[in-house]
């Protein structure tokens, strides 16, 4: 296990390094000049050159890259071209919105999807089992922003129960307000996410239900519940865990849309603004932090799978890979 962890950690570092190179190069290939965002339209060529110089975009790419890496090594995410304020503190403050949003949505989605998916599989021949499958199919087709707009119209504009968007300026020092403003965004993400999760849980459960070992266990006198608990759940959870990890990661990245719909000051809206303004340090920082988060989620998912399924431990920890 220790060797595995070490190897996994090395993989993480290498991936992150590769990602940072790709990120950096791709951004520079985009059309547009960040100096445009800094100068007013009346600017002279000298002013534009000065703007480029002040943000360092006139230096050779390798030099800019090593400069960025050097900053990263010191835990500094750089300085925004546009605001000339450090990016790091802003990322941190925006994580206060994005992390609770993503985690709460994820937990809610799992709470909905696991029982619903199980029922959809186990009771697939009943009308409500079929209905669950049908609804989840439909759910996958619904765009997040559209669902968001519907929920805003119904629960905020019409009923007036919840805010239509925004986050309290004082953040979590007003916990009740902060929670209230996250309810609709969380529900929006959770509903869309659970729709696809239900289908995974359902098919994973179906595999188990049809499996030989479950039949064997029951033939040996185990009750259905006991057989499911001891054998079924474990087996079905392995593929579900990878799917969960992917879903969690994509929720984090997909927060862009939901944060825009609900005007939340999260990482997603920071990225959107950064892109619109060619603010490379901001884009780089947000994508870097997101990449790190996605890699960590994948790492965690692998570990959990190993804990749940001893066979994976035996097969891979010896270095068979």
């Amino acid at each position: 296990m220790a060797r595995y962890l070490l190897r996994r950690l090395a993989f993480l570092v290498v991936s992150l390094a590769l990602a940072s190179v790709v990120l950096f190069v791709l951004l520079r290939l985009l059309p547009g000049d960040p100096a445009n965002a800094l100068t007013s339209v009346g600017a002279s060529p000298e002013q534009i050159a000065a703007a480029r110089h002040s943000i360092g975009s006139d230096r050779p790419l390798p030099e800019q890259f090593t400069h960025w890496l050097g900053q990263l090594a010191h835990g500094d995410l750089g300085t925004s071209f546009v605001s000339s304020l450090p990016v790091g503190p802003e990322v941190t403050s925006r994580l206060d919105v994005t992390v609770p949003l993503t985690l709460a949505a994820f937990v809610l989605a799992v709470l909905i999807a696991v029982p619903a998916g199980f029922v959809a599989a186990y009771k697939r021949r009943t009308w409500y089992g079929a209905l669950l499958s049908g609804v989840s199919q439909l759910g996958i087709a619904i765009p997040v922003f559209w669902l968001g707009m519907i929920l805003i119209a119904v629960f905020a504009l019409n009923a007036g129960w919840l805010p239509a968007g925004g986050f309290p300026p004082d953040g979590w020092s007003q916990p009740a307000e902060a929670v209230r403003s996250l309810v609709l965004p969380v529900v929006t993400i959770a509903l869309v996410m659970s729709a696809s999760l239900i289908r995974y849980v359902r098919s994973a459960t179906l595999d188990v239900l049809d499996s030989d070992y479950l039949r064997t266990a029951r033939a040996l006198g185990s009750s259905f519940g006991r057989a499911m608990w001891r054998h079924g759940l474990r087996n079905s959870s392995v593929p579900v865990i990878s799917v969960l990890a992917i879903e969690l990661a994509s929720t984090l990245l997909g927060a862009v849309v939901v944060e825009s719909v609900y005007a939340l000051p999260g990482l997603g809206s920071m990225l959107a603004t950064g892109i619109a303004q060619h603010d490379y340090p901001v884009i780089q920082a947000v994508l870097f932090v997101s990449t790190l988060a996605v890699l960590l989620i994948g790492f965690a998912a692998d570990l959990v799978q190993r804990i749940v399924d001893p066979r994976l431990r035996g097969r891979l920890s010896g270095g068979a890979r």
Binding site: P31, G32, D33, N36, A37, L38, T39, S40, V41, G42, A50, A51, S54, S80, V82, S83, S84, L85, E90, S93, R94, M149, I150, I152, A153, V154, A156, L157, N158, G160, P163, A164, G165, G166, F167, P169, D170, G171, S260, V261, Y262, A263, P265, G266, S269, M270, A272, T273, A276, Q277, H278
Partner: protein, 507 residues
């Protein structure tokens, strides 16, 4: 000067899914006028805006949002530009101009303190002016103020500024210069001004709060707190207004949303005068727009009124020139080159284009340009002109059109007041070159009285209109939508300023 480069998320798309609100008919009266009755002196006014500051320093790229939130509210100038475009004394108690018009002597107001507690002196004026003129300054007014040759401070209450040449707009330009404590630090995230509010808290990406400053030299603000809430798109902003998360929207950008406010007595929709002009800018140095008749023909062939109706549903104004009603040299020139397709055809024939011609229209990809381009295309088709629409990003526009002058015609919005003077610069992107106009613009700036300046710029106005230097399609509306509990808010919001200190809110 500044042309709006990006409307970030400007396209507030799709149908607003707003369920019917009770229509009560009859909107209130009075607009920003003083509401009768009592109001809450300790109220918090929540303001919704699409323009978040980049940072809090207007000489370091703070952008339009920092002007909106801090100008006049937190920082004050020697002079103030009122909401109807007049220049009034603020931190300057008085001033004298020397006979040759080159030396301005300002006497400063007594008893003014910065929010940090330090007394306001002539040193601070000198420092603030130098900050705008510094090499790394990104102030939009830097080029206008470069006539400043020397700043002397004979005593704590007196500032003497010497100019390199006469500049009648000097005092007006000073209304853009924030007076900052010369010892202040970290102005990108904090402030030290003299205004009626001090900064409470700025949460990036979300909100900026201001608190009434107890030591203010003037009349105290009519409310205790002001919070600017920032939104990325117009729909979210309108939703915030509908759910009372904000009390007023500084500049409504979504005409589709207006009906729901107009039909609800809890809101008031105010139609003010903006300074933003939508231009069909010809390249006056590129064929066929080198020919004045062709420019006049195109101008006369487009029904601006119908365009404005379709884009803004009756809001906004036709202008017929570069000058909005809040500029001192405004006059109604809508009759010059007014809509007249028959006359347009005649002009085209006179210019040798009886069978019309084809040109490419470089069109920024955000609203309202694509709509306007399609409209222009269909209008010009009726007089035999074929328009090829070339959709470009704001970046491309900046490089291709603005910097390289590589275009035949383009669409663009110009946001500032008093920007008629660009027609006096033959090197500006639209290439209008008339020696007489250039001379009038120069003379106007060196005029001794504002009356003289106004008379000259009126001539410029008329000449450029007759020459159809550009086609000024319409003046954007400046729509402030507010809760009917509010009164005394600014209506025109010139150059993005939004004075919040007079706003009163009923309890």
């Amino acid at each position: 000067m500044s042309i709006k480069k990006t409307s970030l998320y400007g396209t507030a798309t799709a149908a607003t899914l707003v369920l019917a609100l009770t229509a009560c008919g009859g909107s209130g009266t009075g607009g920003g006028a003083t509401a009768g009755g009592s109001y809450d002196k300790n109220a918090t006014v929540n303001i919704g805006s699409l323009y978040e500051p980049q940072n809090l320093d207007n000489t370091a790229g703070g952008g339009q949002g920092v002007t909106e939130a801090l100008n006049g509210n937190v920082y004050e100038g020697l002079f103030k530009l009122t909401d109807d475009g007049k220049v009034e004394k603020l931190l300057a108690r008085d001033y004298k101009v020397s006979g040759d018009g080159l030396t301005y002597t300002f006497t400063l107001r007594d008893g003014v303190k910065f929010h940090s507690g330090k007394a306001f002196t002539s040193q601070d004026v000198k420092y603030s002016l130098q900050k705008v003129l510094a090499d790394d300054s990104q102030s939009a007014r830097k080029s206008n103020l470069e006539v400043v040759k020397d700043i002397a401070t004979p005593d704590a209450r007196t500032v003497k500024v010497t100019l390199s040449k006469k500049s009648i707009s000097f005092v007006y330009n000073l209304s853009y210069v924030w007076i900052i404590n010369s010892q202040a630090k970290n102005l990108k995230t904090t402030e030290d001004g003299t205004g009626p509010y001090k900064l409470d808290k700025w949460t990036r990406g979300s909100a900026l709060g201001l608190d009434r400053y107890a030591g203010y030299w003037g009349r105290a603000a009519g409310n205790q707190k002001v919070v600017f809430h920032y939104y990325k798109d117009a729909t979210a902003l309108n939703n915030a207004l509908l759910t009372n998360a904000v009390d007023v929207v500084t500049s409504e950008q979504s005409p589709d949303a207006l009906d729901q406010f107009k039909s609800n007595q809890n809101y008031k929709v105010n139609d003010g005068n903006s300074t933003t002009k939508l231009l069909l800018a010809f390249n006056d140095k590129a064929k066929p727009f080198t020919d004045v008749k062709v420019r006049q023909a195109v101008s006369a062939a487009i029904d601006d009124k119908k365009l404005l109706e379709s884009v803004w549903a009756g809001y906004g104004k036709l202008i017929g020139s570069m000058v909005p009603p809040t500029d001192p040299w405004y006059e109604d020139l809508t009759k010059v080159n007014a809509y007249d397709p028959a006359h347009a055809k005649q002009l085209l024939a006179d210019a040798g284009y009886a069978k019309g011609f084809t040109f490419t229209l470089d069109t920024p990809n955000y609203d309202p340009h694509p709509t306007a381009a399609t409209f222009i295309k269909s209008q010009l088709a009726k007089v035999g002109i074929t328009v090829k629409i070339n959709t470009i990003t704001p970046d491309e526009w900046y490089t291709k059109v603005y910097k390289n002058h590589d275009f035949t015609a383009t669409l663009q919005e110009h946001v500032n007041d008093r920007d008629l003077v660009w027609y006096g610069n033959p090197d500006f992107y639209w290439g209008y070159d008339d020696k007489q106009v250039t001379q009038w613009v120069e003379q106007a700036e060196e005029a001794s009285t504002t009356a003289e300046q106004t008379a000259l710029l009126k001539k410029v106005n008329e000449k450029t209109a007759q020459d159809a230097a550009s086609d000024w399609l319409y003046l954007y509306p400046q729509i402030v939508v507010a809760s009917s509990k509010l009164s005394d808010y600014p209506l025109n919001g010139l150059n993005s300023q939004f004075y919040a200190y007079d706003i009163k809110k009923k309890g």
